[in-house]
Symmetry: C3
Subunit: 129 residues, 3 copies
Amino acid sequence: MVVRHINPEGLHRSPAFSQAVVVEQPAKTIYIGGQNGVDAEGKVVGPTVGEQALQVFRNLALILESEGASLANIVHWRIAVVEGHSFDEGVAAFQQVWNRADPPPAITVHVVSALGPGFLVEIDAVAVV
Amino acid sequence: MVVRHINPEGLHRSPAFSQAVVVEQPAKTIYIGGQNGVDAEGKVVGPTVGEQALQVFRNLALILESEGASLANIVHWRIAVVEGHSFDEGVAAFQQVWNRADPPPAITVHVVSALGPGFLVEIDAVAVV
Amino acid sequence: MVVRHINPEGLHRSPAFSQAVVVEQPAKTIYIGGQNGVDAEGKVVGPTVGEQALQVFRNLALILESEGASLANIVHWRIAVVEGHSFDEGVAAFQQVWNRADPPPAITVHVVSALGPGFLVEIDAVAVV
């Protein structure tokens, strides 16, 4: 597999994301459905974006670990936050779980009207191994 | 092609979706743009989420059939519903078109402010054959 | 690589998008994160959807050119526009940058509550080479 995180000249750079990720010859591609801040029983873990985002990252990691992968294998994730809430706490949760030595995924962030009942944040992702 | 629908231990399970879908060696990957509840002339089929969702599933099936595939080949779909509307009727439409023997795709659901004029639901998808 | 843009019988046709794009044997797949109407320093280029959309297309092109590709290599893009704004100016920008001889990508359009501060439009994309 070849994966290159690219930040071409002429575009701004951020430590939080790569502008794009180029993938050649993946052994497998993992399509991860929107993860929410819920535990193994499907119960929402708490009423804040911070708590929910941390659980979302845990769920993403758990799925990836079951395939011998980790968060570092994500090439693009799409984050949705419910209107009226900031993703600042989500960024803090990201910094808590992310290994700074790994180049970050491409990212999309939308503020939406709502998600499932009680959910404030949802992240889906494509990962390659 | 190898496709595995995964629901790792430690995550809740639902009959409506898989937590993730792992794809190896696809013969082809089909990127399907957002489908709406419109007929062959592009006319909205009706004013309810249920009618529109059923038409969306028909359109998805039609696209997939043209490639020798079916809804079961979808690995991830992203559903958008317009604010003020519930996707409950969409779930009913899903149960009508979905073969329960097939493991369901990974799923993302967003409630958005609006879609194109008259559209209440839009579903895009990635399918592999 | 084999890429086919499909518009099966029974679905309406539009010059603005393909219903789906089928990809076989890509040399590489490029996952492009949500691009906004910002310049090389990350500054928003202007307060209108038209200005921002044109810059988004420039940023997408710049990323693709760095990989020896062009906008024509995009197979699916997802457009988000902020509530209260129309994408009509974005369509005009698209017509300005798009080579009409190329079959257009599959498309998804959502009107969302908000994007990052000052952003009115965001487009992410998958491209294949």
